[in-house]
Every structure is written in structure tokens, then in C-alpha cells.
Symmetry: D2
Subunit: 383 residues, 4 copies
């Protein structure tokens, strides 16, 4: 298979760095593909790019190189010492393919100019490495909620506005999505940011015949919830409340403790629960707290109160203790592989069949994990 590119928006963050280190470790046979869905036996016959057929580059607004970030993750215990020692030299090669990301505060000129620069860099990357295709995937920090504008509705309204030198019509995630599509690349959003979720961008993807997927990778509390909610509904048990708390360290904790940024995250989490329980009014208070000492670890507590036969009051309590980057990174590789295969097979528009990976899946209202897996398996089998 011709090599496939994976272009990461936020290429120097924790998730991206873990994915990069992991890819190099898989390629070197240092580790098993634990946590990689696409490596399951179910997908053995699907024409997916192999670990050594994937090339990584990306954009980032941060300067700290991938190697330095990987060193920090090693000290924090997320990456084993022996893995870091072995792949270390490969990391600077990847970092040499990282270009400055777009941020309105540091960019002079129109957003159209910015997008053109981003698209050019992706295209050049593809050319340099002789890539058949490049999947652009957003793993940058969650953005504050961006206001809806009339210009988002059609491409004809959007493009002139982008060209105005002083306007900020799109949030950075959507500039990245626009640039990706302009460069002829599929786009995947692993964050709850706006990204490709605007009518004008959907129109562009359709016009270009490009697939896209998102949004908000399902790696912790929501993963659990989408597994457990069907237990209650298929058994006819009445969920009365589902309260949750998330304790996060790292940069993520800091970003999400800011109510503005948390907004899009919490909304994305809430939508799925109500849909799965078929009860828009279930009491479901939810918090995200920044607890710096947790570092890369994430603790999620859920308390479900439910009613059984004759009104019996029962409860289920869960504590999930995980490493977000460890859970997210293999899914990033999975999404690159599945999206590349979908592109090869000429799929276009929202890849609803990838709902298994997302808190707030594009193109479908199906949130139940088991059902999502069946759909993924059947779809991948048809590629």
C-alpha cells in the first residue's frame, strides 16, 4: 500500500506525542497494539495501512519539541523508560515535520491566507513523502465555544468573509478543517471544538468528495456511560439520576476547569446520556475539576441511582482511573487507518460508522457502544 500521512493538529501535545511514540514502538515491535481497535482480529482482512506505512507531521502553536514532551511523559510514568530510549532518535525526525499552527492572536492577515498556508504545508508534506493521502486529525486543546454566525451556513457566505483581512470568522479548529478539505484531505476531530461541524464545511467536503469524522474522542467517563446505559434501558430499569465528577490534571485539567472551554465538553457529554436513556430530563449534574497533582491521570466518578420493580431504590457507583493519553493515542492511530481506508474506498461525507470512537458522533444519534461496535465491524468488512 502507498504510504499514508497522518497530519496532527496539536502535534506536540500529550495525545499526539503518545501516538507518535506508540507508532514508532509498534513499528519497532517493542510493544503490542494494546488499546488499538483496528489491530483486533475482527479487522484482519480490512485493507488498512500498516504501522510502517504511516508518516506523521502536523501543526502546533507550541514550540516544545515532540522529543522533549515525550521525555516529560516518560518522567510522569506514561511512557516506559525503555520505550523512550529506543524511539528517541525517531522523534526529532517527526518533529521536523511539524509547522507553526494557526492562532488568531499571532496571525497577521486574513483567515483565508492562514488556511492557504496550512493547506500548502500539508500538500508539501504529502509530496515530500510520496503519500497517497493524508488524514488530518485534530488533537489540539479544547476551544471555548465559538458563536454561531450566518457566514457558517454556506460556502458562498463563508469564503468572502474569510478573505476579509481583519475578521475572525472561524475558530482555529475550523480553519484547520477548512485547510484540510482545501488540500483534498479527510478531516477527523478528536476534540469537542467546532472543527468541521459547520454547514459550509460539510458542503465543501461533499463538493470535494471527502470523508470526515468526529467528534470528541470517547476515552473515559462517556465510554463507560455508553456501555452501561443500555444495561438499564434493555432491562427496563428506570434511571433516576446519573451524577458525575471528573478530576483532571495536566494541561487538560487547566483548560477544562475554565468554564468557557468546559462548555463544549460538558454539552457533548450530556447529549449522549439523555439520548441513550431516552429521557431528556434525567438529573445528571456533571463537573470537571482541575487537580494538578494528578498529572496525566484522570479519575471519573459516576453515581447512578435507579429504580427497579415495585419502586425499589438501587444504585451503581463507578470509579474510572485512567491515563487519557494512553486511551486516546491508539484511537488516533485507529482513526487514521479507518479514515484512510474510507477515503481509498471513495466514501464521502460524515463517517457515521466511526461513532464507536466519539462522544458526540457526526452523522448518527447512536451512542450505545456495543451497537456502535457492530456497525463499525460490519462497515469495515465492506471496505
Amino acid at each position: 500500500m502507498a504510504p499514508t500521512g497522518l497530519w496532527l493538529i496539536g502535534a506536540r501535545g500529550s495525545v499526539a506525542t503518545t501516538a507518535i511514540v506508540g507508532l514508532l514502538a509498534l513499528r519497532a515491535g517493542l510493544v503490542d497494539p494494546v488499546g488499538c481497535v483496528s489491530a483486533r482480529q475482527d479487522f484482519a482482512a480490512v485493507p488498512l495501512p500498516d504501522w510502517d506505512e504511516i508518516r506523521i507531521g502536523g501543526h502546533d502553536v507550541v514550540d516544545t519539541p515532540v522529543e522533549k514532551r515525550a521525555e516529560q511523559l516518560t518522567e510522569s510514568g506514561l511512557i516506559p523508560h525503555r520505550v523512550f530510549a529506543t524511539v528517541r532518535s525517531g522523534l526529532s525526525a517527526v518533529d521536523s515535520e511539524v509547522r507553526p499552527g494557526y492562532h488568531p492572536a499571532t496571525h497577521a492577515g486574513s483567515q483565508a491566507d492562514a488556511a492557504a498556508r496550512l493547506a500548502d504545508e500539508i500538500t508539501a508534506f504529502a509530496r515530500r513523502h510520496g503519500l497517497a493521502r493524508v488524514v488530518v486529525l485534530n488533537v489540539s486543546s479544547t476551544e471555548p465555544v465559538f458563536p454561531a454566525l450566518a457566514e457558517h451556513d454556506t460556502l458562498d457566505a463563508l469564503e468572502p468573509a474569510l478573505a476579509e483581512p481583519t475578521r475572525t470568522v472561524l475558530p482555529p479548529s475550523s480553519v484547520a478543517a477548512y485547510a484540510a478539505l482545501r488540500a483534498g484531505c479527510p478531516f477527523v476531530d478528536f476534540t469537542p471544538s467546532t472543527g468541521v461541524r459547520l454547514p459550509a464545511l460539510a458542503e465543501l467536503a461533499r463538493r470535494e468528495g471527502l470523508p470526515y469524522a468526529g467528534s470528541d474522542g470517547k476515552t473515559g467517563q462517556t465510554l463507560l456511560r455508553s456501555t452501561l446505559a443500555p444495561l438499564f434501558t434493555t432491562r427496563g430499569l428506570r434511571v433516576r439520576s446519573w451524577a458525575g465528577t471528573n478530576l483532571l490534571g495536566g494541561g487538560d485539567g487547566q483548560t477544562l476547569a475554565d468554564a468557557d472551554h468546559a462548555g463544549s465538553k460538558l454539552a457533548s457529554k450530556g447529549r449522549g446520556l439523555a439520548a441513550m436513556l431516552d429521557d431528556a430530563d434525567v438529573s445528571a449534574p456533571l463537573h470537571i475539576d482541575n487537580v494538578p497533582d494528578l498529572g496525566e491521570q484522570k479519575i471519573a466518578w459516576d453515581h447512578v441511582s435507579f429504580e427497579g420493580f415495585l419502586g425499589a431504590r438501587m444504585s451503581l457507583q463507578l470509579t474510572w482511573s485512567g491515563y487519557d493519553s494512553s486511551l486516546a493515542a491508539p484511537l488516533v492511530l485507529d482513526l487514521a487507518r479507518f479514515t484512510a481506508a474510507a477515503h481509498t474506498a471513495h466514501h464521502a461525507g460524515p463517517l457515521a460508522e466511526l461513532a464507536f470512537f466519539f462522544k458526540d458522533p457526526l452523522g448518527t444519534d447512536e451512542h450505545r457502544l456495543a451497537t456502535q461496535f457492530t456497525t463499525l465491524r460490519d462497515w469495515a468488512g465492506s471496505l
Copy 2:
């Protein structure tokens, strides 16, 4: 529809009493069918007996009448005062249809004689109430593991042995199953006891064209496990250990704290976990403790240790706090309804499609709850 009989082995126990009270309350419109799978919208078109088309009788070795047991369950908080007050008068009518159960210690004569007496009583019940069919369902206490005998292998070997006046060839649950089949009735085992799980009895069911189902109702920890295990496997995460503790009060706690009785229960729980994780060697210590003060409540704690990408160590912890009888009773009604419908539709042999209800399903190795539900829904739709 012609009325359907539900004949409960252990008709005066907690589960049976809760099912009886619940049926009367449903019939009177006092409560919603919370916890009843068959009452879900998915099954609205299936030809199932209505609440007022079900008649209950049964066997029990215990003398305490159903009304007295219901009063105790009301005091313990399991049955609401207003429900008990309303259905009370109906309970003695049900109790008048309960006959002395079979127990080797109190029975003089051969097991064949005992089975004939049981079968006659079921047949008389059917005749008295003009029933189209009677589903016999075992909710009696879990038995100690019964040794395997050569006589269990064929009906030709079994029946002469049963006729010997001094031998105990079958445990009580299997005598009940044999009697049910002899009376032309489908048999369902909600306990982990031997029941119908003997080649000779399968042969009898086949010969008589009768369906049967079991075993061991899935109401707590195993219900959760069969929901959660697929999360790990479909995501490619490696479960390293899955430790569990069950705290039980009531009679169940006492019975199962006895290692002999616990044997069949623990074996039944373990088989499913290993199958679902596709790992026969996962470390999975499991305990059942008798904690009398918990009364009808059951607390189950699970600690799952799993490995993610690059060897990251993560965990999931669960605490389930439920009322076993509240969870089991609506399933007893569901099983009566689905089994009656299967019998009407001339299904015979093990009803693997009812695996959704059981820890150790007969006729299938499928333990994943979501998959089991899909199977149930599709099958019921075809009835």
C-alpha cells in the same frame, strides 16, 4: 389468549413472592412494569400473555404462606406498604395453589413416585384453571453441587434408577424438571442448580417437543460484567485481573456462604467472564459473604485492573447496591411470558435466545449483554 400458568418451584421464597405481589400490582394498575424486559416497546407486537392472563401456583418445601412472606418483605422495605395493603387479599388465593415441594429427606418412596406426584399436581392446576399451558420455573434455593452419575446420560438409564425405592439419583431441581417435562410443560431454571442440565432430561424434552431455558438469573454482578467486559475487548484493552466480592444478607447469604452451595454459583459466574474476555487465565478471585444485616440488599464490588497503550496501568471499580428479589422478580414474569410464547410457536429444546436473562445460558456461549439483547429482540419479533 387462553390463560397461561406459571408454576413456581420455591413459590414461597423472596423472589417468587415478589413476582406474585408484582403481578397482582401490575394487574391492578398500581405500578409500572419497571424492570420488565417484555414490557418494553420493542416487544409490543409479540404475542405474549397479558398480566391478567397469567395464573400462579407452585411447589415449596416451606410452610410460611406467601402472604406472611410478603408482609416480611414489606417490613424490610422491599414491597411498598400501599402495594401490600392492596394486593394482600389476592395472596392467599395464590398460596392455596401451592403444594408441598419434594425433598429427599422428607419423602418416602422412589423418586419416580415423587415426580409423578409433582406432575399430577401441575396437571390438576392446569385443568382447574383451564390453562392452555403451564411454564414451570425454578426459583428455589441453590442446591449443593450434585455428583455426576452414569444414569444421567440417557433416559433409558435414568428411568429405571428413578423407580428404585431407595435411591437418590437426581437432586430436587432435576426431579422438578423431570416432573415438568412429564407433565408436558416447558421448564425454566432461574437458579444454578442442576435442573434440566442433564443429557437424559434434554432427551426427554426433545422427545416431548418442549422448550426449556436457564440457568441462573443474571441480576447483579454478572449482569454488570456481561455489560462491561465487551468494553475492554472491543477497545483492545488488556484486562489483567477482575476481582469481586459479594455481600449478601437474607437466606441467600446464608445458603451461599456455605461453600458447598456456593460452588455451583461461583463456577457459573467464572465461566462467563473467562469466555467474554477470551482469556481463561485472567486472575479473578471472587467471594460471596453472608452479611445478615443487609437483609434483602446485595452489595457487589468489582475491581478491574487493565492495561492500555504502552503498558499504562488503569483500573475500574464498581459498586452495585441492589435488591436481588426486585431485580429477579420481573425477569421471572418475563421468562414466563417468553417461554409461553415459544411453546405456543412450537419451539423445542434449549431456548438459547433467552441467554439475555442468564449467567450460564443453555444452548449458547454468548455472554455479552448487548449481543444477547439483539438476539432476544430479533427472535421475539419472529414469534
Copy 3:
């Protein structure tokens, strides 16, 4: 001993009603004094009023009589049916001693007038029942934080301001405290509201030679924290974060989910933790969520992350599932008894020795539960 009065501010609320029902049940020998500190053997020799030497009256802004409230608590499972049935007739007698509480929205005239009316009603109650003394105890809903005013600093500044017909100088809890002291009665605040915690009121208590105590009864999460924090400090372990979530139903949940009311509660909880850990900067996010379906139940979750030798990362997780009124009510009776005894022994000013009962104890910075108990025991022994 001459009978002692207990005058409850908020006499028709859950805590007060549970205390009233409980006192009647204790008097009738229906129940053991479980949860009553003063009934422990340690205090057998202390001259405390007996259960049948306590008379209850109070103020409330609510009209629902105590009997009705008790009926609701019985339905919710907090009060056993048999207890309610037995004490029912005594409840209307208590309710006949409840007078309309003070609320600025419904009161015409100066706050001085209001306080005079309240004081008169307490005095009349004492006279009617021939009481040696009356302990006034606040169990009404938590108030929003009241702004500090210069008039709060001295009695000379306060009293003229109270006499102005249109001013609201004090929150209702402080009007109640002022009225109590004016009537010559000790005052206890079981809530985090302002109450007696103003220099002018401390001055009044001193002048009148009256004892007072508070504030904010320690019944759940803080009770646990004041037990556990010393484990970490005496063992030299470093607490890195202590995150908490409270799920509350009932009226309390509604009141405290309102950020204004929660303010005083959360502040009161935070102060103690920092003091006990001797670390003002420990990361300690804390939430109170309203989860109506929990009714009278309260669930508190705590996650403590701590560091051991050589930097080892460890954690402790706790889930407390309790009934606030069941925990608070016996303490209300304890406080009435101990405060009455202190008054008899001519103690005046803040009763720091009662810190054992409070989240935010007056007159001391000691928050450690075990130390507080030793202090209480020694002090009571000296009465």
C-alpha cells in the same frame, strides 16, 4: 431536675421533626438512643436533662404542621411506620407550641419589634411549662451570605439600627440569636448562617452571662474528613489533593445548589480541611449538587490523593451514604442537653468544648474529631 426547654428555629423542618419524633420515641422507650453522643456511657455521670425533662417549641416560617412533615418522612423511609404510629398524637401537642418565624419579606415594622415578639414568645413558653431554662437552637434553612455592616461591631451601634422601621440590619438567624439572648436563653447554631457570629451579639451574650455554640452541624463529609485528616498528618503522609462531591435531595439540595446559599456552606467546609492538613494550598475542589430523587439521602464522595515515602503516589476514596436528618437529629438533642448543663453551671460565652459537633466551631480552631471528643468528655466530666 427542673424541665428544660428546647426552642427550635425551623421547628417544622426535617431535622427538627426527626428530633421531635425521636425525643417522643425515646421517652416512650420505643427506640435506643443510637446516634446520641450524650447517651454514651462516658457521660452517665453528667447532670444532663433526661428525655422526659425536655419540652419542645419553636419558630418556623412554614405552615405545614410537624405531624404532616413526620408523615412525609415516614413515607420516605426515614421514620419507621411503627414509631410514627405511636408518637403521632404527641406531635400536634408540640406543633401547638410553634409560632410564626421571622422573615423580612413578611414582617412589617422594625427588626427590634420582630425580635421583641420572638423573645416574648420564648419567655411565654418557658412560663407556661415552668422551665428552668430554654435552649434556643437554629435548624432552619441555610441563609445566603449576609453582608458585613459596621453596625454589627458593637451593641451600641446595632440596637439603634434595629429600631429603624425600614432597615434590615441582621439576617433572620441573627435576629433569632438576638431575641434568644434578650430572653436570657443560650443560643446554638446548627447551620452555617450568621446567627450569633457577630461581635455585637457576642458582647450581648457576655453581658448577659449566656453561653452559645455553633456552627454548622458536622454530620457527613466533614465528619469523615475531620476523622481522616489526622491519619495523614500524624503519619507524616503528604496530602496532594482532596476532591469532594455531595449529592443531596430534599429541600437542602435545592437550597444549597443555589450558589448564594452554598457559599457559606462551602466556605465552612474548606476552612476546616486546610486547618487540619496545615496546608492552606491543598487542591480541594468541592461541589454540592441537587439530585431530587435522593430525597432525604445524602451521598458524599471524596477522593484523596497523597504521597508516601520516596514519592509513591497513593489514594483513598470514600463514599458516604447517609440520611442527614438521622445524623443531625440526635445531635440536636445532645446540644440541648449539654448547653443546658453548661448554662446551669454558669458557663458563658462560646462553648468551644462543643466543637465535636460542628464543622466550623466557635471559640476554637481544633477540627480533629478525636481530639474534640476528648475535650468534650473532659469538659462534661467537670460540669
Copy 4:
């Protein structure tokens, strides 16, 4: 102060190795004394040996040197890489002071001979390093319960039996204690093994004027229980059941999953709980499970069911996730320091004042952690 010796029985195990690495790291100023009780401000004025006044040697039946064991603990994450790298060279110096431990299976000759050899080696160690005193401390694996013999009752009965060449009169821990006392050294037992807990050995200690302490270091579940039990008793709440499960990896898990070895551990845990709750009949099922994948980690789950006022049913649930060696190692250093100071001050017999450190304290029935701490602080202040 003249240097003090610490002679570890089981010097190459996890706890000993962590203590050794920690002592070297403290001496080098690499780490803070987190988890060291004796380093608290409360004990600043007590004449304790400083970190650089302690010399370590010991006995072990295992051959793997301390350095190798430390390397394994570093790989498992218990010891930080940078600490290991710095102290590494010091570890072989310590290991050169480790002599073969006594084990009946490998020893030819009488137990008296064995004890004489052990005592000589301790004395030689003291002489080599010019030590004022040597504290002998047992951190070897928990032994199976050893049968009581008449010879254990007096020294006159014991010593002739020890001299018989073919008898095994004492378990290894008691041979070690006997040897220590014979060498004129205080003895501390950090394990639940028999050790010094025999009348004949108490007699010997008394005769020699030597202090001793034990037994079974309180580092996890029991530490928590001794903190929490007084909450319930001082508040007058009725504990109805206290169920617990321990998940252990490492060698400890393997040893304790063996019912014989677990016996002494479980008994030691149970005694304290019943004493603290003043209720010998509280239902308290307890398990220890071997879960190899947990490595050095230990997970303890406790479920406390308790009753409040008017019979309200409440619960507390706890999950402790710790590293046993990290919790134990600093206490080993503490015990060496406090016991040395007690010896210097001519204390003899059981050091009941060290109960704070033990599950099953010698010389006292006080199990409440807070009370134990007060006793320790006051006693240390008097040294």
C-alpha cells in the same frame, strides 16, 4: 550520638530494601522524610539517632542482593529512577552486612546452635561499626501459625528443648527474637509472626532489661479502620457489619493467599476491630486475595453498614490504593529510632507506647489511632 545499628530480619525483602534505599536517600538529602512519623515537628526535641547515625545489616534466607531487589522495585515504579541511580553504590555496602538467615529446612543442628550463630553475627556487626546499640527488627515473610507448646511458657523449659539437636521448638521469627535478646538487643516485630510473643521470651527480655515492640505494622486497611472506628463509637452510631477485601500482588499476595499464612494476619486484623467497636459479634468477613498483576500495589476495600437514629440504614465505603513497602519502610526507620531511644532511656519490657505503629500492639488493648498518637507523643516527650 554514638551510631545505632538496625538489624533487619528479612533484609533483602521489599520493605527492608525500601527502608535501606530511603535511609540512603534521606542521608543524601535526595528526598523529604514523607511518611516518617519521627520526623514530625512533634518529635524535634526527642533524642533520636539521626539518619546518618544509623547503620544497617541483617539476616535473610534469600540470596538476591539488596541492589538487585532495589533495581526490581525501581522498574516496578516504587523507587524513582534518579534515587536508585544515586544510592546504588551504597546498597552493596549494606548487602555486605547481610548474613544467611535461619530456616529449619536448611539448618543442621539444634535451634540453640542456630540462635548462637545469629547472636554472634549481630554482636560482630555492632563491634565492627562501634555501635552503642542494635535494634533487631523483623520484616521477613509472614509465617504459618506455629502450634503452642508447653516449652514456650518459661525460659527454664524452653532452653533445654532448644538444645535438643532434632527438635523445632520455635518458629524462625522466635529464634530471631531469642537470638536478639541473647545478644542484648531490643527486638521489634513488624510482622504477625510469633516472634517475641511467648512468655519465655518476655521473661528473657525482662531479665536482660530489654525493650521490645510489635506486632504487625499497621499500614493499610487496619490503619484506616483504627482511624474510622472511633467515629462510629464516639458518635454513638451502631456498626452492623464491616466487610473487607484485600487485593495484593507481589510475594506478599502469594504468601497470604495461602490460608495457613493468612491465618495469623486475619486474626490480628479481626482482634482490633472488635475491640474498637466494643462488639465481639459484629459481622466482619475479611479476605486476602493474591492478584499478581498488582505488583507492589495493595487495594483494600471496606464496606461499613451502620445504623443511625430511629434505625436509619447508612453506609460508608472505602477504597485504599497504596504501596505497602512505601508505607512500611518509613515506619521501620521510625521504630528503629524510637526503640533505640527507649533502650537508651533504660525502658524494658513491651513498649505499649508504640501501639500507633501496630495492628496488634503488645502491652495494650488500645487500637484507636488518634489516642495511640497522643500516647506516643507524650511518651516520646518524656524520653
